[in-house]
């Protein structure tokens, strides 16, 4: 039995102009105990709304939410066994770090000594032992973030909800916090529900990812599966970078622009497509290799961009521009204006529903 269960949750907002937004459109989800679950999707797809519905800060129009067998959608926020790390941190500016963390424990009428212990422990968990007496305004963004985390963790919630907690941090700090969050989750065994719109973050942290679009879950799977087997063009494009190329199917394979041709047994084996008509083919930039073979996609190099670990080559095939990401050493780097051929690695090209 799943730990956090969301069933048929709907939430419709009325906009000031009188229109309707289906922020959550019949969402059902099962999240396992101790799982690091990531919700990913473009802006406005309903991630925050779902998280707030779990927290009790928003009430769904219909549906059911339960945690650990206990139905929670009919109890107020302050009685739910879940806690949130807010995107803006929402630290109380008039309280010290210590008081911020103690606040939630005071609400549970935990004894003074225990509060003291748990505050200390929470601060140690986020490695900010020395900051107890400071005010939030005297902390850096990264430190505030950790305090927000400590404040929620101190309550020992059954589920910890995190709404884009790292989005305000710079890249380096963010990487560090990603690792730390993952470690904390493993150490505490608490179920994390983590919202982000950064697919890289989602991939690197999540045990499973739910990809949202327009209030619906489009795909729910492990990062690897989502990356390797996107269910449609939206997921393929949203998760990682993908070249979406329009081709036409034949009995033997798919014809692509630039005189390209991929035979059926070269395409990912789980992909099904017809014997005629247009198809969309998804090929990851890193799945291209330079090739002189017949059937390679031939085109003119428009740009060559060195990014450090790779060289990105923009190639114009007839009307379609594709990007190939080649290793930055060991292979010949083409020049601008040169005509080259690109070949997808075996079983890497996929057909996707558009």
């Amino acid at each position: 039995m799943s730990f956090l269960q969301i069933e048929h949750v709907r939430k419709t907002f009325t906009t000031p102009e009188g229109g309707e937004v289906h922020a959550l459109d019949d969402v059902s989800l099962d999240i396992q105990a101790g799982e690091f679950f990531v919700m990913l999707g473009p802006s406005g797809c309903g991630k925050t709304t779902l998280l707030r519905s779990i927290a009790g800060l928003e009430y769904p129009d219909s549906g059911m939410i339960s945690v650990d067998g206990q139905r929670i959608d009919d109890i107020p926020a302050y009685e739910r066994p879940v806690n949130t790390v807010f995107q803006s941190y929402a630290l109380f500016p008039h309280m010290t770090v210590e008081q911020n963390i103690a606040f939630g424990l005071e609400m549970e009428k935990v004894s003074k000594e225990e509060i003291k212990q748990r505050v200390e422990f929470a601060l140690a968990q986020v490695k900010l032992e020395g900051m107890a007496k400071r005010r939030p305004s005297q902390l850096s963004g990264g430190q505030q973030q950790r305090i927000a985390l400590a404040r929620a963790l101190a309550k020992k919630p059954k589920v910890l909800l995190l709404d884009e907690p790292l989005s305000a941090l710079d890249l380096k700090l963010r990487r560090g916090m990603q690792i730390e969050l993952k470690r904390l989750q493993q150490e505490t065994g608490i179920t994390f529900v983590f919202v982000t719109h950064d697919q890289e973050e989602a991939m690197s942290m999540g045990d499973r990812i739910a990809v949202f679009k327009d209030g619906k879950i489009v795909q729910l799977d492990t990062p690897r599966e989502i990356y390797r087997r996107p269910v449609n063009a939206f997921v393929a494009d949203f998760i990682g970078e993908t070249n979406l190329i329009e081709g036409s199917a034949t009995e033997t394979g798919i014809h692509l622009p630039g005189g390209g041709f991929i035979s059926r047994n070269h395409i990912a084996p789980d992909c099904q497509f017809g014997t005629s008509g247009p198809v969309t083919v998804a090929i990851r930039p890193e799945d291209f290799e330079l090739s002189e073979n017949e059937g390679a996609l031939k085109g003119t190099v428009r740009d060559v961009i060195f990014t450090g670990d790779s060289v990105r080559v923009h190639v114009l095939l007839d009307e379609t521009e594709v990007v190939a990401s080649l290793a930055s050493y060991g292979v010949r780097v083409p020049d601008r204006g040169e005509t080259i051929g690109l070949n997808p690695l075996e079983h890497s090209a996929r057909t996707v529903a558009s």
């Binding site: 107020p76 926020a77 302050y78 109380f92 008039h94 606040f103 939630g104 609400m107």
Partner: protein, 305 residues
């Protein structure tokens, strides 16, 4: 002012010469500074033997007579009348401040949490009284609590005809609360409007109930507004004249009324001036106190203009 002059003094672009402010400073010295000075000087002079004004003779008797009465037979005794007036002024202003704060906090929070259209209308509704003459508002509340007004009629019907509100200290208080209520609502509202409701959500999320959220999260956050409101209500209430005059029955029960009396019928300008000096001192003392409290509790300087 010559262009050359402006140029010499320029700091940053667009920065105009401080000398531009000179005419204002001179005017205010005449219109505000000197009257205060004259008040202070007059308070140390003798009253004129006949009519209004003063006699140019140094005599701190006005201050003495704040506490001491000189009987007709030449003996002196302790006089509690003026101390009582001072005490009343403080008491009424204090009660007014507390009562207005108690009612303003809910309405300010309530308005701040309405959606935008409703908020604008409600804001206009509490701002409108600002633009209406205090005299007329005091008259309006007087008509309500008058014996022949709605309150009086209801009391009469209920058989309490012998109770009167008008021309009692209660009437003065009702008038003060009525008149100064918007002065408390607006500053608290401007704090409440800035309150980040995510803070309250975080508190709910951590398990706090409504009253706890209100007490521990909302109130501390709107404290600057409350402090500003206290200053904006207490200071003018302390020097208020119309409410005790029109509602309290013209009994001289607040400082301003006694000052007016001494410049009117009583014709004791030096004593009126001494009371004025006292009122200035009390006000400035209160300002310092509020600034100290404000600095202590919010870390910011309370500014009065």
């Amino acid at each position: 002012m010559s262009k050359k002059h402006v140029k010499q003094l320029e700091g940053r672009p667009g920065q105009t010469s401080p000398l531009l402010a000179l005419p204002t400073v001179i005017f205010l010295t005449i219109g505000i500074g000197i009257p205060i000075l004259v008040t202070i000087i007059y308070s140390f002079l003798d009253r004129a033997e006949i009519g209004m004004g003063v006699k140019w003779h140094f005599n701190p008797t006005s201050y003495k007579s704040l506490f001491i009465i000189e009987n007709l037979d030449g003996t002196t005794g302790f006089d509690s009348r003026w101390i009582k007036v001072l005490w009343n002024s403080f008491l009424y202003s204090g009660i007014t401040t507390i009562v207005t704060a108690i009612f303003s906090i809910p309405i300010a929070m309530w308005i701040a949490t309405r959606d935008e259209n409703k908020r604008n209308i409600l804001l206009a509704a509490v701002t409108l009284p600002f633009w209406i003459s205090i005299l007329i508002r005091t008259y309006g509340i007087r008509q309500i609590i008058d014996d022949n007004g709605p309150i009086g009629t209801i009391m009469h019907k209920l058989g309490y005809a012998h109770y009167h509100i008008i021309y009692t200290p209660t009437a003065t208080l009702i008038g003060l609360v009525y008149v100064f209520l918007p002065f408390m609502i607006l500053p608290i509202y401007s704090s409440a409007e800035r309150f980040d409701f995510r803070m309250a959500e975080a508190a709910y999320d951590l398990g706090a109930r409504r009253w706890t959220v209100l007490r521990r999260i909302v109130l501390p956050s709107i404290r600057p507004g409350i402090i500003a409101g206290i200053a904006l209500v207490f200071i003018p209430a302390l020097g208020s004249f119309l409410q005790s005059d029109m509602l309290g029955g013209g009994k001289t029960n607040m400082i301003a009324n006694v000052i007016a009396l001494n410049f009117g019928q009583a014709r004791n300008w030096p004593f009126g001036c001494a009371l004025s000096v006292l009122l200035i001192a009390l006000t400035l003392g209160f300002v310092k106190l509020i600034q100290w409290i404000g600095k202590k509790s919010t870390g910011e300087k309370v500014s009065f203009i």
